[in-house]
Amino acid sequence: MKMTLKVVALLLAIGASAQTIKSYADEIASLPELITEQETVLVNLLNNGKAELREGNEPQVVLTEEEKKELIIKNMVHYIRLIEGKEILLEELQRQQFPDLDIRGILEGRQNPGI
């Protein structure tokens, strides 16, 4: 009886392990396509400012600025998840530096507000 229970437990564990490994492999295999799709969504959002949400004959959805911002941020986070950029994101947030911003332009703008 005990040996039967042990065998059942072993078979369940082997099945669970196989399932876990297969899920991982499937996810890795589909990753390039998912990343490409997400990049397309982000580019559309940033360029057009409208979400391509229509299906079939449904009218295109027009977003407000706030909705657009929210959608961009959510999709960016999803993209960062896909490319596993978590560590870099957290480092950037903790450092609170934005090297790609035009700091000179911002400072000059403050000095010459254009009034």
Partner: protein, 189 residues
């Protein structure tokens, strides 16, 4: 440590059995929802533990209340493990953690089967010391299984190392207490 107590009716075994049935129900529900076989492993173990709890031998020698509290804290400690920061997991780490959990719980299940009606949370002497199955090779295979299962949490969130080390220390304390129960009982005969 003080280790003797009068023999009482072991009503707690039925409470333990009911608790394990509840855990098994939750695991089966999670399996039905997600299709992940890991939950079936968990529920299988919980059902076995539930059965053996209900059939448990009476304790001839029990540990102190302090030791019992330590044992229950040790059992509940895994509930404190942190998830990945902001839910952002690294896939490979998630895979490693999942596989360690499956292997760990397999060992725990085997140890539960081997222990049978001697099963308990807080250290106690129930009949002779188990020396068959996994217990032939390792003194405390259940703690080894839990240790392996919980190791994966360090991959998910680095701050879990502190909870993990605390867990290991508590396992060592429990293992020492259990060994002492048998050692002192052997000397008193």
């Amino acid at each position: 440590m003080l280790i003797t107590e009068a023999i009482k009716t072991d009503y707690k075994k039925y409470i333990g059995s009911l608790i394990m049935i509840n855990f098994a129900s939750i695991s089966i529900t999670r399996w039905a929802q997600s299709g992940e076989l890991f939950f079936l492993v968990l529920s299988f173990r919980d059902l076995i533990a539930s059965y053996f709890f209900a059939k448990r031998q009476n304790a001839e020698v029990k540990s102190t209340k302090t030791m019992a509290i330590i044992a229950y804290i040790s059992s509940g400690l895994p509930l404190l493990y942190f998830s990945a920061p902001f839910g952002l997991e690294i896939r490979l780490y998630r895979l490693i953690a999942d596989l360690l959990t499956i292997v760990g719980f397999l060992i725990v299940t085997w140890a539960t089967i081997d222990l049978g009606t001697k099963l308990g949370v807080s250290p106690a002497k129930r009949g002779t010391k188990q020396t068959k199955g996994l217990y032939r090779f390792i003194g405390h295979p259940m703690y080894l299984g839990y240790g392996i299962a919980q190791l994966g949490w360090i991959f998910i969130n680095k701050w879990n190392i502190y909870i993990y080390l605390t867990s290991l220390v508590l396992f060592l304390i429990r293992a020492k207490s259990e060994s002492n129960l048998f050692a002192k009982d052997g000397m008193s005969k």
